[in-house]
């Protein structure tokens, strides 16, 4: 069975400067597939600059990979015909971070729902369009009567963000890519939005990629997680295993810094380079080596491959070199499917 959306050795390199070319590897050879059989929620986690948004942009077809391929339904996305692109645009939907910028303040919020209906000709009549909109709003826990006909400033950030979820849903998508959908929403409202995402996954069987820097929410709503560090995969696999017992030193640092709302569970004592953060270039070795407390000479020489340390997890760290390497660097092999 072919995957819905697949990245094969997807690499994105940004270069800047005319004379002194500076090159940034935003995403380095990521291979991964979204299956439709058992739709999962998969987190792409990492700090700013880790390449998580670049990975999302590649999956949305907003960016063309510098190297490697993106396949949609087994066909190379960047060699698709116009009709195939239109279908892709409808079936792969995005939810973005900022619930304020999505809206034009001069239009009623209905606008973000009516435009896709018109563009993709989803309804034959006004009534049909209206009932589709109401259905989508109800699916994300909003009362249409309280939302339609309002202007963006009359709604809270949480309501606005749920409307963008409803917009994605309206198109009956096969995949949803949500890039930091709750980071600008109050903590008390995050749960509601995440709950509606989880509902879409469970009840409508839509696989979701949840791009985030917040491991606590990732732990709660996802089955799988991919941890990126400076463009390469540090660790990937089952979210419970990884959050409870992180193997890669970077994931350990990340998990150790989660501010759990529990005064009995304090931040770990581990101190990782509080002084002098490393900015800028890196050599051939592991990208985390300059900050890593257990770095070995080999870490500075060659980038570690992904080692399959368990049936459903892999880590790119020489600490686990006794485990077999992950075939084809294919993260899909260690994710719950």
């Amino acid at each position: 069975m072919t995957a819905i959306l697949e990245l094969r050795n997807a690499t994105k390199i940004y270069s800047s400067g005319l004379i002194n070319k500076r090159v940034t590897v935003a995403l380095d050879q990521v291979t991964f597939a979204i299956e439709g059989e058992n739709p999962m929620i998969t987190a792409i986690a990492g700090e700013s600059g880790s390449g998580k948004t670049t990975m999302g942009m590649l999956m949305l077809g907003f960016l063309e990979p510098t190297d490697g391929h993106i396949f949609y339904d087994g066909r190379d996305l960047w060699k698709s015909s116009k009709e195939e692109w239109i279908r892709f645009r409808r079936e792969v939907q995005a939810i973005f971070q900022d619930p304020f910028e999505v809206y034009n303040p001069f239009y009623k919020v209905d606008h973000v729902l009516t435009v896709p209906i018109e563009k993709f000709k989803l309804a034959n009549s006004k009534q049909e369009a209206r009932s589709k909109m109401e259905e989508a709003l109800e699916a994300v826990g909003l009362r249409p009567g309280e939302t339609l006909g309002r202007y963006p400033h009359q709604l809270s950030g949480g309501q606005r963000q749920r409307i963008t979820v409803a917009r994605a849903l309206l198109l009956n998508p096969r995949v949803i890519i949500a890039d930091e959908p709750v980071s600008m929403v109050d903590a008390s409202l995050r749960a509601t939005i995440l709950e509606s995402l989880r509902k879409l996954n469970r009840e409508m069987h839509i696989p979701i990629m949840y791009i985030t820097h917040d491991l606590a929410t990732a732990y709660h709503i996802c089955q799988n997680i991919i941890v990126l560090y400076r463009g390469s995969v540090a660790e990937a696999g089952d979210v419970d295993l990884i959050i409870r017992e992180p193997q890669h030193p970077y994931t350990q640092l990340l998990v150790g810094s989660i501010p759990w709302p529990d005064p009995d569970r304090k931040w770990g004592a581990g101190q990782f380079m509080a002084k002098g953060e490393i900015l800028g270039g890196y050599g051939h070795g592991c990208r985390f080596a300059p900050r890593c407390p257990v770095a070995m000479p080999v870490c500075r020489e060659q980038q570690p491959p992904l080692y399959r340390t368990h049936g459903t997890r892999a880590a790119a760290c020489y600490l686990y070199k006794d485990s077999p390497t992950l075939e084809g660097r294919d993260i899909g092999r260690v994710l719950n499917q």
Binding site: S156, A187, S188, R190, A191, T192, I243, L254, D262, A274
Partner: protein, 322 residues
């Protein structure tokens, strides 16, 4: 036990709009002990930033401090002249405003931005002493003294935020208010900045008021926590007690809306939305969202009462109807 460094008594800050007064901060009273980290938590729009601006006397029209006292070391800030207040800021009480790290001047070196505040508050230091002072404050926020000669664009977010902390402590104030100091930072950097702030409190005896909406961050970094809802304080307690035994239904809802490591998948949002503070009605403002409302809640505003040692709550079922 020493006297509180900051005592707030019945503080009210209102914004006068064309449609009536907005009670952004209403009937707020609490104490802050010397060398303590106090958290102030609440949803957006609950008045927590207005309260911080109120403490600094930086409320602009149409807002104004309606009434109440802000006693800093026994001196009522609301009664100071503009010039006296200007001298008090940074010297005795300093604010790290929301988004401060993006308001550093991009064309000034870090050292000049730190010196600016010190000079403006009339401290005459020789060039050598100034250089030493700058190196010292940078050191105290875990920054390399070489950062002094850099421009903001050469620094990462966490480093910029630490420069803001350095400016705030440059005159050794007694109280530092930090308004969402880490909201734009990654978890690792967030933790480093919070640990820096914590160390300053411990080593320099500064009292810190940390404002934010992230209960997780509060649990990790403060000793005492004040919960604010719709302009009023609803609960005050030591942080461990607040998490183990939250009394106010709002605090309970806030805590159960958080993802913890213990129970996977068990967290839910708070139904309803925060009330508009325009022409706010009498009674408990959480009443429309409360899971266990009573008739009395609609008519009478509950007052903060100490129902357990050092644990205050404003909720009728606990006897707050005095």
């Amino acid at each position: 036990m020493s006297n509180p460094i900051l005592q707030v008594r019945d503080l009210r800050v209102y914004y006068y709009t064309e449609r009536g007064p907005v009670k952004a901060v209403d009937q707020v009273s609490f104490d802050l002990d010397p060398s303590m980290r106090l958290g102030l938590v609440g949803e957006s729009g609950c008045g927590k930033s207005t309260m911080a601006m109120g403490f600094m006397r930086l409320i602009r029209p149409p807002g104004r401090i309606q009434s109440g006292q802000i006693l800093l070391d026994g001196v009522d800030l609301t009664r100071l002249s503009q010039e006296e207040m200007r001298q008090t800021r940074l010297r005795k009480i300093a604010l790290i405003p929301q988004g401060a790290m993006n308001s550093l001047n991009p064309v000034m070196r870090v050292k000049d931005q730190i010196a600016d505040g010190i000079l403006d508050h009339g401290e005459a230091l020789s060039a050598v002493m100034m250089r030493e002072r700058i190196a010292e404050v940078l050191e105290s926020v875990d920054l390399d003294p070489r950062v002094a000669n850099m421009h903001p664009h050469e620094l990462s977010g966490g480093m910029k935020q630490r420069v803001c902390v350095a400016i705030a402590i440059s005159m050794r104030p007694k109280v530092v208010i930090a308004d969402e100091p880490t909201s734009a930072l990654d978890v690792v950097v967030q933790r480093q900045v919070m640990e820096t702030i914590q160390r300053l409190q411990q080593e320099m005896g500064i009292s810190v008021i940390l404002i934010g909406h992230d209960m997780g961050l509060m649990a990790q970094s403060v000793e005492r926590l004040v919960v604010m809802y719709a302009g009023r304080l609803v609960e005050i307690s030591q942080v461990a007690d607040l998490f183990h035994d939250p009394l106010h239904p709002y605090t309970q809802a806030l805590i159960s809306s958080l993802p913890t490591l213990r129970q996977k998948g068990v967290f839910r949002g708070i139904p309803g939305i925060t009330p508009l503070l325009l022409n706010a009605p009498e009674g408990c403002l959480f009443y429309p969202r409360c899971p266990k409302p009573r008739d009395v809640c609609k008519d009478r505003t509950p007052l903060l009462q100490e129902v357990k040692p050092a644990h205050w709550v404003a909720c009728h079922p606990y006897g707050g109807a005095a």
